[in-house]
C-alpha cells in the first residue's frame, strides 16, 4: 500500500474578488521508502504542493478539495491537534533557506529538544542524548558543543545539516525537502544531497524532493513529477523522464541544461515565462510557450495519457512521438473498451484515465 496517496488535490488562494487556483487537481502516490522529485520553474506550484501535504499553507490559501491519504488517514480533513501529531513526527520538512529557518534567539539544543518533547515524553537529558546521536549522523563535529550554540554561530551548510538532523529526530516515514540546497554554496550542495540520499536509504525514509535542478533529481530520486502552472504535466520513472522526456515543457527543461549546450553556444532556454496564477492561459497552460501548440491546445485542457510507465498531459504527444519515429502508442489506461479508432476518440477515452488509474502508477 502506498504511504502517501494524493488524489485530486486542489489548493486555492482567496483573493478579494475571486479565488485563485494554485494547485489544480493533482494526484500522485508515494510508496514507503520511495524517493520522488517534483520539478518545475518557480511558480509551478512545487512548494505549495510540499506545504499542503502538511496542511501548512498560510492564509489566504486553503485546500479546496481532494484527499491526502497519509498512512491511512486523510490529512486534508485533519484539525490542528491531529496535524500537530503528524508534523515533525511522522512527516518532517526541510525548508529552503537554513539562514532563516532556525530561530535566531534559541540555541540549537533548545530547537532540537523542543521537537522531541513535542511528541515524546522525554527528560531534557534524554532528549539531548537523542539530539547528539542525530547530530553525529549528519556528521556535525563535536555535537555536544553545538547544542549550546546559536544559529548565527554556524555556517549555512552546518545549519542545513542540523535541520536534516531535526527532520530525522523522530524517525519520520516521510521527509519533504523544499529546495534544500538552493540557498547554499555550490560546493556544499553536493555534500548535503549525498547526505540526504544516504540517510534516506539507511533509514528507509520516503523523500519528496522539491527542486528545479534536474541533475539533482536524476541523482536523488526514483520517480519524478514535472509541474507547470499548478498541474502535473508529466510523471514517471526519473531515468525515463530525463532520457526520454515526452512533454514539450519537460523537453524544454532538459534542453535548457548547460550540459546540453556546446561551450560558447547560448543556452537553449524555453521562451517566455511561467504565467502568474491570476492569469493562467486557457486550455493547456503551456501553449503560449510551446512550439507544437495547435488551436486545440488553446481551448482544451489536455488529459493525462499513459505511455508505459510515463504519464503525460499533452494533446500533441502522439504526434511528437510519431515525429521522433518512436511509434509510441498512447494507452488510455484502465479502459477496457479503448478502441483507438481515431485521434479524437483516443483522447476522449483517455479522459477517463484520471480517476481510474491514478493509483496504478504509484508503486
Amino acid at each position: 500500500m502506498a504511504l502517501l496517496s494524493v488524489k485530486d488535490l486542489t489548493v486555492k488562494f482567496a483573493m478579494r474578488e475571486q479565488s485563485v487556483t494554485a494547485l489544480d487537481g493533482i494526484s500522485f502516490d508515494l510508496a514507503k521508502g520511495e524517493r520522488l522529485g517534483i520539478v518545475g520553474e518557480s511558480g509551478a506550484g512545487k512548494s505549495i504542493t510540499g506545504f499542503s501535504l502538511m496542511k501548512l499553507i498560510s492564509k489566504p490559501g486553503f485546500i479546496d478539495r481532494g484527499q491526502i491519504q497519509f498512512d491511512g488517514r486523510d490529512i486534508a480533513k485533519m484539525d490542528e491537534p491531529a496535524l500537530r501529531d503528524i508534523r515533525g513526527n511522522h512527516m518532517a520538512m526541510i525548508f529552503q533557506d537554513p539562514m532563516v529557518t532556525l530561530n535566531p534567539v534559541l540555541t540549537i539544543g533548545e530547537q532540537m529538544v523542543e521537537t522531541l518533547r513535542a511528541h515524546r515524553k522525554l527528560s531534557l537529558e534524554e532528549a539531548e542524548q537523542i539530539a547528539i546521536v542525530k547530530l553525529r549522523e549528519v556528521y556535525i563535529p563535536s555535537p555536544e558543543e553545538r547544542l549550546r550554540q546559536y544559529p548565527h554561530e554556524l555556517s549555512g551548510g552546518m545549519r542545513q545539516r542540523i535541520i536534516i538532523a531535526i527532520a530525522l529526530l523522530l524517525e519520520p516515514k516521510l521527509i519533504i525537502a523544499d529546495e534544500p540546497t538552493t540557498a547554499l554554496d555550490v560546493t556544499i550542495q553536493a555534500d548535503i544531497m549525498d547526505l540526504m540520499l544516504e540517510l534516506c536509504q539507511t533509514n528507509k525514509v520516503s523523500l519528496i524532493l522539491i527542486t528545479h535542478d534536474l541533475g539533482v533529481v536524476n541523482q536523488m530520486t526514483e520517480r519524478t513529477l514535472v509541474m507547470y502552472a499548478g498541474r502535473i504535466i508529466e510523471s514517471g520513472r526519473t531515468r525515463e523522464i530525463i532520457n526520454d522526456p515526452q512533454h514539450p515543457y519537460t523537453q524544454g527543461l532538459i534542453n535548457a541544461l548547460p550540459q546540453q549546450t556546446l561551450p560558447g553556444q547560448p543556452l537553449k532556454q524555453i521562451p517566455g515565462s511561467m504565467p502568474s496564477l491570476t492569469n493562467i492561459p486557457t486550455g493547456c497552460a503551456f501553449h503560449p510557450r510551446c512550439a507544437y501548440a495547435t488551436s486545440r491546445c488553446k481551448t482544451e485542457i489536455p488529459r493525462t495519457l499513459r505511455f508505459g510507465a510515463v504519464e503525460v498531459a499533452c494533446h500533441e504527444v502522439e504526434r511528437l512521438k510519431a515525429g521522433q519515429g518512436k511509434a509510441g502508442t498512447g494507452q488510455p489506461a484502465a479502459n477496457g473498451n479503448a478502441s483507438a479508432n481515431g485521434d479524437t476518440s483516443a483522447y476522449d477515452e483517455a479522459s477517463t484515465y484520471d480517476e481510474a488509474s491514478a493509483n496504478g502508477s504509484g508503486s
Binding site: G88, E114, H152
Partner: protein
C-alpha cells in the same frame, strides 16, 4: 565587555557635553540674573560692579567653562527660591518622580505584553478590535485630560481614590520616601501612574502587536509549526522573544521620555516630584534650578539608554557584548 563599556562611556560624555552647552545657553538667555538677585532698587553702577564680580561680563566660553568645572564638582548653582544647591533640591524631589515612573512602567509592561500578543494572534477578534480602538483613544487624549477625567470619576464622583499628593510615605534611606509600603501610599500613586501610563501603554500595545504579527510571518515560526511545536510555545518562546528585541530599544528611549512627561502628570495630581518642581521653577524664573533639571533629566536619559543597550545585548545572542567595541 570592558571595551564596550568604555565606548559607551565616551558616547555618554559627548551627549552630556551637548546637553550642558544647550542648558547653559538657555540660562544665559533667560532674563537678567541680577534682577532676580537684587531687585529694582539697586543703582546701575552697583549692578555693573556686581556683574563684574559675578563674572557675567566674561565671554560665553569662559562662563561656560566655569559652569562646567563647577558642575563636574557637583555644583549646578543655587536655587534662587529655595536658597539651597539646585542639585539638593532636585534630589529631594527625585524619589517621588522615580516611583511614579516605576509605577507607570509596571503597568505598561504588565499590560502591553499580553495585550500586544493577544491582538497579534487574533487580529480580527472582538476583544482585539476593542483594545485597538481604545489604544487610539489613549494615544490621542493628552495626559492632563486623562488625569482630570480620572480625578473627576474616581475622586470626585466615586470617591474611591485621593486626587492629589503622595499620602503616607515611609522613609527608606536619605531623602527617599516610598509610596509602596502603605495602603494610603498605594492609593495615592495609583491614579497618577495610570495617567502617566496612558500615553505609553497604547503605544507599546501597538508596537508589540505590529512586531509580533511580523514575527509570526517569519520562516522560523512556520518551521516551528512544521515541527509540531505547540502554539503557546510558538507564540511565547519563538515569536515573543524576537518581538521584544526592537521593543526593548524603543522602551529605553520611552523611559526617559516618561520622566519628562511627569511634568504634566505631577502638576495635575500635585505630585511633589521634580516635574512639578520644574514647572514651579519656570514660573519663578529660578534659572539655576531649570538648568539643573535639564541636566539631571539628560543624565537619566543617557543612563537608561546605556542600560537598555546592555540588556539588548544580553537578550539578543547575535550581539556579543564581551567582544563588542574591540
Amino acid at each position: 565587555m570592558f571595551a564596550y563599556l568604555v565606548k559607551r562611556a565616551f558616547q555618554a560624555i559627548a551627549v552630556m557635553f551637548v546637553i550642558s552647552v544647550v542648558s547653559f545657553a538657555i540660562q544665559d538667555n533667560l532674563g537678567d540674573p541680577l534682577r532676580e538677585l537684587v531687585g529694582q532698587s539697586v543703582s546701575e553702577e552697583v549692578r555693573e560692579q556686581l556683574r563684574e564680580e559675578l563674572g557675567l561680563n566674561d565671554s560665553f566660553i569662559t562662563q561656560y567653562l566655569r559652569f562646567a568645572w563647577k558642575a563636574l564638582h557637583g555644583d549646578l548653582g543655587t536655587s534662587y527660591f529655595f536658597k539651597e544647591p539646585a542639585l539638593t533640591v532636585i534630589f529631594k524631589k527625585l524619589p517621588a518622580t522615580l516611583e511614579l515612573v516605576f509605577g507607570a512602567t509596571v503597568i505598561i509592561i504588565g499590560l502591553s505584553v499580553p495585550l500586544g500578543v493577544y491582538t497579534a494572534i487574533k487580529p480580527n477578534g472582538l476583544f482585539s478590535r476593542i483594545v485597538m480602538g481604545l489604544s487610539i483613544v489613549g494615544i490621542s487624549v493628552p495626559v492632563f485630560l486623562t488625569a482630570i477625567a480620572m480625578i473627576y470619576l474616581f475622586s470626585v464622583e466615586l470617591q474611591w481614590l485621593p486626587s492629589f499628593g503622595r499620602g503616607d510615605v515611609v522613609p527608606i534611606f536619605g531623602h527617599w520616601d516610598t509610596n509602596f509600603l502603605t495602603v494610603d501610599g498605594w492609593q495615592h500613586i495609583l491614579l497618577p501612574s495610570i495617567a502617566l501610563a496612558s500615553i505609553m501603554l497604547p503605544l507599546f500595545v501597538r508596537l508589540i502587536r505590529a512586531e509580533m504579527m511580523e514575527t509570526l510571518q517569519s520562516e522560523y515560526v512556520k518551521y516551528a509549526t512544521a515541527k509540531g511545536v505547540r502554539p503557546m510555545r510558538i507564540y511565547f518562546v519563538h515569536a515573543l522573544k524576537n518581538t521584544l528585541l526592537p521593543v526593548i530599544t524603543v522602551g529605553g528611549v520611552q523611559i526617559g521620555t516618561m520622566v519628562a512627561y511627569t511634568i504634566l502628570t505631577e502638576t495635575v495630581f500635585q505630585w511633589p516630584g521634580m516635574g512639578f518642581m520644574f514647572l514651579e521653577a519656570v514660573n519663578r524664573v529660578d534659572t539655576p534650578l531649570i538648568v539643573a533639571y535639564l541636566i539631571v533629566v539628560g543624565f537619566i536619559f543617557v543612563v537608561t539608554n546605556t542600560i537598555v543597550d546592555l540588556i539588548y545585548g544580553l537578550v539578543n545572542p547575535t550581539i556579543n557584548i564581551a567582544r563588542m567595541g574591540a
